[in-house]
Symmetry: C2
Subunit: 405 residues, 2 copies
């Protein structure tokens, strides 16, 4: 029998009624002749509730203990879901990340999966059970519980699908699929039928929250077809798969955006080797994730370096820069209220002029571009945060991405 892996997010299991609904869906997949493994997130806001208690106790709780705490939410979900499936007359067994053989490194709160020991998973499937796996968690070589970071249940599901050679991995969520833009901003946004891993990666990296970046990387690496769909309807969602001949290559598939960017500019940095290494080394030491980096053309032996960070990382970034800017004799500017808008499309490679059209569209709307970065299938512009929504709307219209598109 083919194996399918399903993943249900926190909203899909937010309450006992919804858990019963998910149980029906899983049993239906079993009745369709599949062996089913379902990965489940914590119920609704339960992870946030746990985090709140942790922060009442400590501003900076030990990460090992955070993992012990946060991993309980998914265990609650899988246990309740097993009961709901039992009520429907099928047999399910819930497994913790550890029991499911999900081995990780020791980087608590953002561990990486290092391997999957499938022995028990296969035994339980072969004995005719539906297997429910607590998402977002694994076990370290020290036998401690680890978690995979926000959105980690997606990664759990994709990793299990790869390890079990599943036919597909269904990602059930609270939206119908991947959209051409955030429908809260663009009511006419179109649900995409399929996109390539590469496009989905760029979308996740530039602000689409529907899938976690790492899970898409994992799917791409192991060639696991993803089906992103709603747990509240039976409509097909969006397939994320390998780009091939059959796949329609839209010049632009989607507009994405982020609103939590901050921009830092180092002024008149000496233009000599090793400067960038010093700057970004100092930022890495403070665990600051740098997004976009632009170095302007050199002028009289100095250069300006601009980069963006997530707004929550801004204090750490300033701390890093303050420590080194004195030695280097440079000052820096902060642009706090920044955002980013991006267009993504696998067909962009073959069409020159896409970036130019984007810049023209923004200019016509009176939106100033502060920074630009491009890849073969993406163009991103850093703009004023207050203009982000407008930018998404005008780009979506200009590239004709709407329902009629």
């Amino acid at each position: 029998m083919p194996i399918i892996v399903q993943k249900y997010g926190g909203t899909s299991v937010g309450g006992t009624k919804r858990i019963r609904n998910v149980a029906r869906r899983i049993v239906a997949a079993e009745n369709d002749g599949n062996e089913v493994v379902a990965v489940v997130s914590a119920m609704g806001n339960s992870t946030d509730d746990l985090l709140k208690m942790a922060h009442e106790i400590s501003a900076d709780p030990p990460e090992r203990e955070l993992d012990m705490l946060l991993s309980t939410g998914e265990r609650v979900s899988v246990a309740l879901l097993a009961m709901a499936i039992h009520e429907l007359g099928s047999t399910a067994i819930s497994l913790s990340g550890n029991q499911a053989g999900i081995q990780t490194n020791t980087v608590h709160t953002k561990a990486r999966i290092t391997g999957i020991e499938t022995r028990r998973l296969i035994e339980e499937l072969e004995s005719g059970k539906i297997v429910l796996v607590a998402g977002f968690q694994g076990v370290s070589p020290e036998e401690d519980v680890t978690t995979l970071g926000r959105g980690g249940s997606d990664t759990t599901a994709v990793a299990l699908a790869a390890a079990l050679a599943a036919r597909e991995c269904e990602i059930y969520t609270d939206v119908d699929g991947v959209y051409s833009a955030d429908p809260r901003i663009v009511p006419g946004a179109r649900k995409l039928d399929e996109i390539s891993y590469g496009e989905m990666l760029e979308m996740a990296a530039t602000g689409a929250a529907v899938l976690m970046l790492r899970s898409v990387e994992y799917a791409q690496k192991y060639g696991v077809p993803l089906h992103v769909r709603s747990s509240f309807s039976d409509k097909p969602g969006t397939w994320v798969r390998k780009e091939d001949e059959d796949m329609e290559k839209a010049v632009v598939s989607a507009v994405t955006h982020k609103t939590d960017e901050s921009k830092l500019t180092l002024l008149r940095v000496p233009d000599r080797p090793g400067v960038a290494a010093t700057v970004f080394g100092a930022l890495a030491e403070q665990n600051v994730n740098v997004d976009m980096i632009i170095q302007n053309v050199s002028e009289q032996g100095t250069t300006d370096i601009s980069f963006t960070v997530n707004q929550p990382d801004l204090p750490a970034a300033q701390k890093a820069l303050d420590a080194i800017s004195g030695d280097m004799g440079v000052a820096y500017l902060i642009g706090e209220q920044m955002g980013k808008v991006s267009i993504i499309g696998a067909g962009m490679k073959s069409y020159p002029g896409v970036a130019a059209k984007m810049f023209r569209t923004l200019a016509d709307a009176g939106i100033n571009i502060e920074m630009i970065s491009t890849s073969s299938i993406k163009v991103s512009c850093v703009i004023e945060r207050a203009k982000v929504e407008q930018a998404v709307k005008v780009l979506h219209a200009a590239f004709n991405l709407g329902q009629t598109g």
Copy 2:
């Protein structure tokens, strides 16, 4: 350094403020020069909240899944407590039952501890850490999570104290210790400074809720001194330990009571071998816990058998009796609204007349005795439920157990 094991109940950790309070107490014990292992229950009513969700989904959830569900509460407590200890500048590590090496049999929801693999516990203690263990849970030979039943955290604590040869096991709870009667019924009830394991066992068996029966059995078997005390004060509580020369042997130490008894009487049962085996075998098959059993003197070849069960077990008991009473040609009576009052004292053995004084006291108060059972250190009487409070009061006064006692 001496090892002490502490156990904190759900009320003691009911909220982040109380968790911080428990953390201070644990760190104080460490500062006093002890290696500390603390066993923690789930916060406040969190176990009941989980059970409620389970029963919204299923009237009869699979017990393996109940254990997966219910074991999460203690994990939350130990993780938060580790954070609180970290905030105080000490180092603690939280361990699940599995990580703490608590091995059990496979009887889900009421598993028994079969052994403790102390390797990790000792490693963590030797590395200078306070060790926090999730109470109430262990791991089965199938590598599944098991729970030990209500009050199981006490058993966890005593078992760890035995396995680690701890100097003592402190049971922190929301009362000051073990009382001569329930202070809610007898305001003048006296806190006992010390009692023997035997007395505590009889008290637990006859209604004192402060300690779980099985944990006292375990403590007696391994000679672990227990100190039952309040987590909200620094006053010494009640020591439960081996009866020896030094221990004061009160004729009567305490009055205990239960109000959830039901009495069943089988009428005119043929007085021949095997009848009792049939009756109580049928009850055992329905998992009915029978408390007191009385068989009256035989009369013309038949006898009456009366016994008590916990009221919640009554439907199952009736089912068992209905199945066999036809074959045996006997009828049965039900006394639903029953209770039980008991007096316990290690000194009773050497003083005849204690039981007689109890019966006289109840008679003088107009309380009819329906059944009597005795052990060397206990006399129990089954009485009408509505009279239980009055019985406790008059017995407490008659045996002079109050503060001035």
